[in-house]
């Protein structure tokens, strides 16, 4: 069954979703269930002077109301930053307290203040209107670039500065710049985005007083991590008595990594009232309180020598952390960002500073791509600008500066194991018919449209991550992954993975890996995830890690199954283990026609003796059963790369931008299921296009989120896209036996730069994201008046 790897196999999980049998958290209803509704801050910044919930307590159906005082009294811990980084002065980053229910102050619109638990949702909602919170409203800071000059919003955090991070060698970089023949400068804003998984977050706490067991159903990308954090930091319940189930989860995109206040509170409330407590976010709550993404203000400079070679890069970024520091809030704009600024270019020296600042906005954290889209946007924009300024073809300029030899130790952090950047760029140029672009441009001009082309030749570091490396730079956990394979007595296989599938298709792709390794039909392989009571501890799904790290753990567990099987088969076939070959699901004794199927061997492992016709004594020293576990910790990140080429058409009259052509050639190393990988790329590109052209989280001056519904936050829709062309090149990863590099975030990482380079090519001057019709129109108008003046 070797052809399982690389086959376009339709997904096993599709049938349930297509027939309405998916089971998401909101679909679960438990006996004696109650409903939670959160009282949230209507102000961006205020002191809480009083929370009076006496009226709410008396409202019909209300069981209890919990406030900041309750969680303090019951010693429920606050939310944490899980990866703390160190500033350039050697000091730890500063994190404000982040209580699950605010007691003294609120710091963004939507901040959680109290929760009402009632018999019905309507009753909880009605009573929540009766909770009287007295606020002393304070002036709020919203804008990223204004944070450091505003009064402290958190006590003891001067200039609202969480950290001032530096990566690279300032001295060497300045020296390179002093020798430069040409310095290219660029200012970019990376707009704030709201992840918008289509399934709103949801959680149900279910405490069983008889067994003292607490179960939390929650829409999470990483249930084991949630349990660890909620046990160790929030002190909700001891880990061994605590089960977290993340059933079908309707998309994550990073927004379901965090342990949220609502998770902790429903678990806590269930313990307090002794009944299940259910909470499902309304979409407006998702907009306000899911972690937001991006929000950078950046100045970048690129130094070139007379031979058009890049000799240095300087980047200074301010990253808006929002009101608090969430789990990956600090690592996202630092270690996931700064090293990636080098792109796929051979840049000898670079330095980057990042100021992480607090503002009175929703906290930001990892959002699909996490740091890498931001970095790619900077380098791909400035490289394009450089080519333009020196008058060189942008493809040629890129190729001239590409890394050519592998492994390649970059000047900042990463050691890139494999790649062939010319190969994917050449293929993308061919596929996109780059050579005839100018013809298409004139065709568009005839229709009164401005046509532009944009490149984005990206790489990313994923397959997160080597534990020793990440822990040395502040990660609170290792980032290995687990797998357990239970070969059942009747010949089917249960595979437990510590990753989590919320759309990525693991039920199918992991089954393909196991089917390929063990020679079992994929129908007989079940991939189990999302329940801390079922499989071993695992780290979850984010950072395009599931295949490269989780898949490898599965491969290794399969190898252990085969190794044990060989011993058992040897006994059954009357040979030596070293004389047993395993191929296509059969153990074969060398130089003989004697063989046993893996099913027969598994059966023997469970019935080690004589029973009727079955005679299968196990070899001495071999334990019964056929279950193997593996924990895999990668030696390095993996480094997918690719070339995206985008063409847009702009309506001169309205400024409206239309995506008309989009070509992708990616190098993901080994591809297990091209159908699934294509889906990841399409979806990723769509999200990147969304950032470039449509999406923007907008706060007004007082800190009200004015884009808090689908009426005001522009989600990309079907009519915003043409057919996207996808192809591949392949240089296998060397850091895992599958050779897989990861594909989940690539589209979102590459697309914003490709689209904006195309928009700017068409317009002729800089435009910031999102390139809305009005912004483009204004840029065109400005150009027009400039030209008229000239």
């Amino acid at each position: 069954m070797a052809d399982l790897i690389g086959s376009k196999i339709e997904r096993k999980e599709d049938r349930k979703f297509l027939t309405g049998k998916g089971r998401y958290t909101a679909d679960i209803n438990l006996p004696r269930q109650t409903y939670a509704y959160f009282v949230r801050s209507p102000h961006a910044r205020a002191k809480i002077t009083k929370v009076d919930h006496s009226k709410a307590m008396k409202a019909p159906g209300v069981i209890d109301v919990f406030t900041g005082d309750c969680v303090v009294k019951d010693k429920v811990g606050g939310l944490i930053c899980g990866w703390k980084i160190v500033s350039q002065d050697g000091k730890d980053m500063k994190c404000p307290p982040h209580p699950v229910l605010a007691k003294d102050s609120v710091n963004f619109v939507g901040d959680h203040v109290a929760v009402v638990v009632a018999e019905t949702l309507e009753q909880a909602k009605n009573a929540a209107e009766l909770v009287n919170v007295s606020y002393k409203i304070q002036k709020a800071v919203i804008k990223t670039e204004e944070a450091t000059s505003f009064e402290n919003i958190h006590e003891g955090i001067d200039n609202n500065l969480s950290f001032d991070f530096l990566l690279g060698d300032k001295g060497k970089t300045n020296e390179a710049f002093s020798k430069a023949d040409k310095i290219v400068k660029l200012d970019v804003v990376n707009n704030r985005l709201i992840p918008n998984a289509m399934e709103p977050r949801a959680a149900i706490g279910d405490y069983n007083a008889s067994s003292d067991e607490l179960t939390l159903y929650t829409a999470s990308q990483n249930p084991h991590l949630d349990r660890l954090i909620m046990s160790a930091f929030n002190a909700v319940h001891p880990e061994h008595k605590f089960r977290i189930v993340a059933p079908d989860v309707g998309g994550g995109f990073g927004s379901k990594i965090n342990v949220y206040a609502e998770d902790v509170v429903v678990a806590y409330a269930s313990k307090k009232i002794g009944r299940p407590v259910k909470w499902v976010a309304e979409r407006s709550e998702s907009f306000m309180s899911d972690n937001h993404g991006r929000d950078h203000v950046t100045h970048a400079e690129l130094a070139l020598n007379s031979d058009s070679k890049i000799i240095g890069l300087k980047v200074d970024t301010i990253a808006n952390l929002g009101a608090y520091s969430l789990v990956l809030a600090a690592v996202t704009p630092t270690y996931l960002y700064a090293p990636l600024l080098l792109g796929i270019y051979d840049i000898p020296t670079a330095c980057c500073t990042v100021k992480g600042v607090y503002t009175n906005t929703a906290p930001t954290d990892a959002y699909r791509g996490a740091g890498r889209p931001e970095a790619t946007y900077v380098i791909e924009r400035i490289v394009t600008e450089a080519a333009k300024e020196i008058g060189m073809d942008q493809a040629e300029f890129r190729k001239k500066n590409f890394i050519k030899k592998f492994p390649h130790q970059q000047c900042l952090v990463h050691n890139i194991d494999s790649g062939n950047y010319d190969a994917h760029l050449d293929k993308a140029i061919e596929l996109s018919d780059y050579k005839n672009f100018e013809n298409r441009r004139s065709q568009s001009a005839k229709k009164g449209k401005l046509r532009g082309i944009g490149f984005s030749t990206y790489f990313e570091a994923c397959g997160v991550a080597p534990s020793a490396v990440v822990m040395s730079i502040g990660a609170g956990v290792g980032l290995w992954e687990s797998a357990e394979i239970r070969f059942n007595p009747t010949g089917n296989v249960s595979v437990f993975t510590g990753t989590h599938s919320h759309g990525q298709g693991h039920d199918t792709t992991f089954a393909q890996i196991v089917g390929d390794k063990l020679g079992v039909a994929i129908e007989n392989i079940d991939i189990v995830h999302g329940d801390t009571d079922k499989g071993p501890f695992g780290m979850g799904t984010y950072g395009s890690r599931s295949l490269a790290v989780g898949g490898t753990a599965i491969v290794n567990a399969c190898d252990k199954i085969i190794a044990k099987g060989k011993k058992v088969a040897a006994k059954m076939l009357e040979g030596k283990p070293e004389d047993i070959d395993f191929k296509g699901g059969e153990f074969i004794l060398k130089n003989s026609n004697k063989k046993k199927t893996i099913g027969e061997v598994a059966f023997a492992c469970y019935l080690p003796g004589t029973f009727g016709d079955v005679k299968s004594p196990l070899p001495e020293g071999v334990e019964p059963g056929l279950i193997e576990t593996s924990f895999f910790d990668p030696s390095n990140f993996s480094f997918p790369s690719g070339s995206h080429i985008c063409e847009v058409e702009i309506d001169k009259e309205t400024g409206e931008t239309k995506l008309v052509k989009y070509t992708v050639v990616d190098d993901f190393g080994t591809v297990i299921n091209p159908l699934v990988v294509e889906g990841q790329v399409y979806g990723g590109v769509a999200q990147g296009v969304g950032q470039a052209l449509y999406e923007n989280a907008h706060y007004d001056e007082s800190g009200q989120l004015t884009s808090a519904s689908y009426m005001d936050y522009t989600m990309p829709r079907a009519d915003n896209f043409p057919q996207i062309k996808i192809d591949y090149t392949c240089t296998p990863a060397t850091s895992n036996p599958l050779g897989a590099k990861g594909c989940g975030e690539a589209g979102t990482i590459a697309a914003p730069a490709a689209v904006m380079n195309a928009v700017i090519d068409a317009v002729g001057t800089d435009v910031q994201m999102p390139a809305t019709a009005e912004k483009v129109w204004k840029a065109l108008k400005k150009n027009g008046s400039k030209k008229a003046a000239a």
Partner: protein, 153 residues
């Protein structure tokens, strides 16, 4: 309280329901037909689309009392005798779904399109689906699925 009589996925149902209950909540909470999803507060996302007397509607913005004596088909009612509807098959074949949350509404909307236009162009498919938001697929597999299903229905 309203007494409502409905035919849902071919089955007659008669029940007392508070006047203010939406069709989506009725399907999910009263009948456990949780395939119909609720993804927004503003009738924009389309995860809740069902067929009401043969037309696709957003069930989060229809009172069940207002649907009295109507015939409703939900995602659970599309497959017949264990065999998926050609649209469901096409979504599977073309990877028209990932997390599955928008999928029921998307499929119901797409089926309605083909009821009204047997052979839609790519642009017509894209335009028709403007009321259904998907965050996972970039709509590529969905559009391919609808096109393919149109040749089979």
């Amino acid at each position: 309280m309203a007494k409502v009589s409905l035919k849902i996925n071919g089955k007659e149902i008669s029940q007392d329901v508070p006047d203010s209950v939406m069709l989506s909540d009725f399907l999910r909470d009263y009948l456990s037909l949780t395939g119909t999803h609720v993804g927004c507060d503003t009738s924009q996302c389309g995860a809740c689309v069902v067929h009401l007397d043969g037309n696709s509607v957003k069930s989060c913005t229809a009172l069940v009392a207002d649907c009295n004596k109507s015939e409703i088909v939900t995602i659970e009612g599309l497959a017949k005798n264990g065999k998926m509807h050609p649209m469901q098959e096409a979504f599977k074949k073309h990877h028209g779904l990932q997390c599955g949350f928008c999928t029921p509404g998307m499929v119901m909307s797409a089926v309605d399109l083909l009821q009204k236009n047997k052979d839609p162009s790519e642009q017509q498919i894209r335009d028709w689906l403007e009321g259904n938001i998907c965050r996972c697929t970039g709509y590529q597999g969905i559009v391919a699925a609808v096109k393919d299903a149109s040749s089979k229905m």
